[in-house]
């Protein structure tokens, strides 16, 4: 097996980026959505990687009116009449199926209350980098069903880079080769079947090619003429999920726990975490790493959106300037997004070309978020590849 990566390091948007002694990342917020219990945790265990995932405790708190609430306490914020509706929504989140309507409309139909809608947006924004109007209720209910079954997130010891390093070791020990600074410039086909690919001016023969650069870029590498116009159109129109992450150095814990803090009332920030409460080695001794995430709607002025995010931080933490220093503001959109395909826009690993498969964050089976979706998609692709006869 050969892996070709155009950058000088492996791991794409899921690895550490050391900066001023802090373990920032190339993308991720250092979290594994279902800790040890989901498809990624299971895969890491089955591969014998030894990656330790520290479960987040509490999984998430919600900051409302300056106070932090656990999920089960949220119902206390509603009037007696609305409490009944909230209880019915909770029951449906466990048992319901949802449909095509957006999750926002689904909630609004059952409880037209501003806080309920803000809570939905901040949860979707933090978890998926889209707001509730962009997500089908069917997908949302599948996601919550997985959270009920496979529980909440965790932080890998050593950060997301530890996961990447462990996977690199598994690949290399299994005889695989990882070629860095090796940009793939074309995929070769013959009679509707993959035969190899081009890199660094050389052609390499392969029976099977698996691509994680997104279905659109994969089609471009093959040449559009190899596909039907409908397929080309379908991959060209896949909407991505964009976002902005702000990494902050702190001289004391600002959250003090290992879970997420959802911020439904902030102007832009959907949530934050402080991973150093789980693994202090992600910052210099005695310091903390706080990371915020906000959804970015392409087309909006990115500088203004960042400014609103920075304002949120100062409003959420009145002593921000005394204890905190912004390390880096990173924006993700336009081909290097948070998710190459918005959650709920489903696509399988197969392509119209025999021997060519897609994996990665554009190929997530229903209900699986972020790298859990990537791992679940990889598992589905492996089953197809095992069954492929050439």
């Amino acid at each position: 097996m050969d892996i070709f990566e155009k950058l000088p390091y492996p791991g794409g948007r899921f690895t550490n980026l050391e900066y001023q002694g802090y373990q920032l990342t190339t993308g991720a917020l250092h979290m594994i959505p279902h800790a040890e219990n989901g498809p990624l945790g299971t895969m890491l265990k089955e591969l014998g990687t030894g990656v330790r995932i520290i479960p987040s405790h509490p999984p998430g708190l919600f900051r409302i009116g300056g106070r932090d609430y656990e999920f089960r306490q949220l119902k206390d914020l509603f009037s007696l009449r609305d409490k009944v509706k909230v209880a019915s929504i909770h029951a449906m989140l466990k048992l319901g199926k949802g449909g095509k309507e957006s999750y926002r409309d689904w909630v609004k139909k059952r409880l037209n209350n501003r806080l309920a809608l803000e809570l939905s947006d901040s949860f979707c924004g933090w978890t998926l980098s889209i707001h509730a109007d962009k997500l089908s209720s069917r997908e949302f209910l599948a996601i919550t069903s997985n959270f009920n079954r496979y529980r909440g997130p965790g932080i890998p010891e050593g950060g997301c880079g530890a996961v990447t390093r462990a996977l690199v070791k598994v690949i290399e020990e299994g005889g695989g080769n990882i070629h860095l600074e090796s940009k793939v410039t074309g995929i070769q086909l013959d009679g509707g079947r993959v035969t190899g690919m081009d890199c660094g001016g050389e052609s390499h023969e392969f029976d099977v090619v698996v691509s994680n650069i997104g279905p659109k870029a994969t089609v471009e590498l093959c040449g559009e003429e190899a596909f039907s116009p409908d397929y080309v159109k379908s991959v060209s129109n896949i909407p991505e999920a964009a976002g902005i992450k702000i990494s902050v150095a702190c001289d004391r814990p600002m959250l003090g726990h290992t879970g997420a803090l959802f911020t439904p009332q902030a102007k832009r920030i959907d949530g934050l975490n402080e991973v150093t409460n789980a693994d202090p080695s992600l910052a210099p001794e005695g310091k903390h790493l706080l990371m915020s995430h906000q959804t970015y709607e392409p087309g909006r002025d990115i500088r203004e959106e960042i400014e609103l995010g920075l304002q949120d931080l100062r409003e959420l933490f009145p002593d921000f300037d005394r204890h905190c220093r912004v390390l880096m503001v990173q924006s993700y959109h336009n081909g290097w997004p948070v998710n190459r395909t918005m959650s709920g826009k489903l696509m399988g690993p197969e392509t119209p070309v025999r021997g060519l498969y897609n994996v990665g964050d554009a190929i997530k089976p229903r209900g699986w978020v972020e790298t859990e979706g990537v791992a679940a998609g990889v598992k589905a692709a492996l089953e197809r590849i095992d069954a492929y006869g050439g």
Partner: protein, 58 residues
């Protein structure tokens, strides 16, 4: 290797920042290279996932 930022390609992901030995790059929505401190080592060119930093004339 004089680095030139192709503004339309830069998305502000910040990957280039930690790799610059001169701390010549700052990012806020988009990268900016300080020509005074840049030593033209070209490292940022290979670390950008979006090919937004290119060699002069590249």
């Amino acid at each position: 290797m004089i680095p030139v930022l192709v503004k339309d390609y830069c998305i502000g992901c910040g990957h280039c920042v930690p790799f610059c030995p001169q701390e010549a790059i700052t990012v806020l929505g988009r990268a900016e290279i300080d020509g005074e401190t840049c030593i033209e080592c070209g490292i940022c060119i290979i670390y950008c996932p979006n090919e937004a930093i290119q060699e002069d004339g590249g």
